[in-house]
Structures are given as structure tokens and as C-alpha cells.
Symmetry: C2
Subunit: 185 residues, 2 copies
């Protein structure tokens, strides 16, 4: 549920020693928006500490949570390649510390550092591999099964996430979430 990428983070820390001026560190407090949708950015972020949520907002204001980002997860990197506006927002859930790196420096590393290149590709593979079954599972199974799966994977999710976030993650209403949680005692 909370995605991480420790290999990437570890390597990034090494790079930071080699190219200190490539990276800056920023801190966000809970509920601060780090990256806003429909805006253009020239940098991307990698989570050093804390948890953030990445979500779409539709025209009715309903949020749909894509992923919860933990240590080593990067966001805003897709825009390096497709040159589009940011297509979702990312907001701190706990207090968060991020590394920030410009598109330009990121591309430089990508071209000149084979290990970094491979780690970037692997991070993308992980994102695809994660999203694919999630789409299927939410389509195929009932809310109850989805919640049971959540509890299995992440037993104490209530301590970190609000009910609203859980509902937005599962693509259901708060009412439905409560109802099903009740029926499970």
C-alpha cells in the first residue's frame, strides 16, 4: 500500500555526495501540497522521509488516490519525458522531506550514469507492475474483499490514514467503507 524504493534512495544519496549542487532538500508539513496538478514543473521530487499521497481530483472535487509514496519514491518524473503539465497532485500526509532535482540534471544523470539509468527504469517497471493488478482487483472484487486484502497487506492502516483517504484509495464512498467495516465487526 505504501510504496517505497530503497535501492533508488540509497543510490541517490551516493549521487548527492558526488554532485551536491544537483540536489536540494525541502520540507513539507502534513497536508501541504508538494506538487499541484495542471501546473508545469522543471524539477521532480524523491521522498527521503515521510508519507505522501498522489491523487487526481475530478470536476466534482472527488479525489481518487493513485498511490501512497514512502521512502525513495519519485514523482514528477514522467513530465521530464512527455513534457506535459503535471497530471496529478501530491500532498504530504505526515511531515515529509524530499530531494528536489531539476529535469536537466536528471537527464544528465540518466545519460551518463548507467546504474542510475537502470534504477529509473526499474522504478517505472515497479509503477506499472503495481498499477496493473490494482485496476483489475478493484474491478473484479467486492469492496469487502478489497478491504480484507488491505488489512492483510497493511494491518494497521488506520493509524496512518484517514478513513477518507482509504475510501479515496479504494474508489468508494466513505459511507460504503463504514458499512463494510461494520459488517466485518
Amino acid at each position: 500500500m505504501i510504496r517505497t524504493n530503497i535501492d533508488f534512495l540509497t543510490y541517490l544519496k551516493k549521487l548527492q555526495l558526488l554532485h551536491p549542487h544537483y540536489f536540494s532538500i525541502e520540507n513539507y508539513t502534513s497536508k501541504e501540497v508538494i506538487l499541484k496538478d495542471h501546473k508545469r514543473y522543471h524539477s521532480l521530487y524523491i521522498i527521503h522521509k515521510g508519507i505522501a499521497k498522489c491523487y487526481f481530483t475530478d470536476e466534482n472535487g472527488k479525489e481518487s488516490i493513485q498511490e501512497f509514496f514512502g521512502e525513495g519514491m519519485q514523482f514528477g518524473e514522467l513530465e521530464v519525458f512527455n513534457n506535459q503539465l503535471s497530471y496529478c497532485s501530491t500532498e504530504a500526509i505526515t511531515d515529509v522531506e524530499v530531494f528536489k532535482i531539476s529535469h536537466q540534471h536528471y537527464l544528465e544523470l540518466l545519460e551518463n550514469d548507467t546504474a542510475f539509468n537502470r534504477l529509473v527504469i526499474q522504478s517505472m517497471v515497479a509503477k506499472i507492475s503495481y498499477k496493473a493488478p490494482r485496476l483489475s482487483f478493484q474491478q473484479s472484487y467486492s469492496i469487502e474483499q478489497n478491504i480484507l486484502k488491505l488489512k492483510e497487506l497493511y494491518p494497521n492502516y488506520e493509524t496512518v490514514f484517514s478513513k477518507k483517504d482509504i475510501a479515496d484509495y479504494l474508489g468508494i464512498t466513505l459511507r460504503s467503507l463504514n458499512r463494510v467495516l461494520n459488517s466485518l465487526q
Copy 2:
């Protein structure tokens, strides 16, 4: 709805001239399975001609279609990097011609050919960018809105896909699809 990647295909054809022994060509007829889930492969495929569907099957036999692949779409490439079993099946819808390349040669190109490397990354960016809003849209909107969207993006989808495929793509039952199509006249 039918995904393509012409840039990738174009470049691949150039590579084929440079390294003819890297590639082989295979042909599949409608409904043949090209790649089966839970199996290990040592090659991956790129669609040259035709349309295929990529789908999960759950324990009840229900299919959930991830994407429809058209020209230039590759599949089986994630397993090059995560060394896992294939996590979904790909089946020809129309007759299909594919290029086949071994993991080993693919990795060789990835390391030695910067342009190829970039195209692979861009293909992954495209897959992520496509999956993300699809998850949200199907969660947030009614079946009716999803079908209207489909008709808008791909007016004559009925000519290519069976009703069952459309239902599996939208994550709904055939009965629900028929009902909603009726209510739209």
C-alpha cells in the same frame, strides 16, 4: 483505447537492419495466445501489425483487460527487469505479426544505444500515464459515462471488439453493458 507507439516501431525497424539476428518475426491468428500468464519467458514481443489484448484472469475465470495493443506496443518487457513470471496474458484479437527479441539482446541495445534507451523509457512513461487516469476514471464515473467516453474516443469500437471484450475492459458484466447501451438508445 488501442494503444500504439509508432516512434518505437519505426526505430525498431531500423535496428532490425543493423542487427538482423536480434529479431525474429512470428505470426499469430485471431484468438491465439501469444504470451501466457504465470510462465517464464526469455524474450519479449513488439506488435508489428494487428491488435492484441492484454488481460488478467482471476480465479473465477473472469477476465480483466488491461490494454489493447496496436502497432509498436511491446509486451513482456517488464519481466526483463523484475525477473518475475509473466503477470498477464496477451492474446491476438485480429491476426497479428510480432517482432520477438531475447531479453539478452534487448538489454544489450538498452545499454549501448542511447536512442533505444530513451524510447524504452518513453514507452514506460506512456504505459504509466495511460493506466493512472484509467483507474481514476473507472472509479469515479458511472458505467454510462465510461461508455460515452469510449464512444467519443473510439466511435466504431463495435466493429473491432466483441461485447465481452468491451465489458472486460470496463470491468463490468455483459448484462450491465447491454443495459446501459440500451438506455443510450
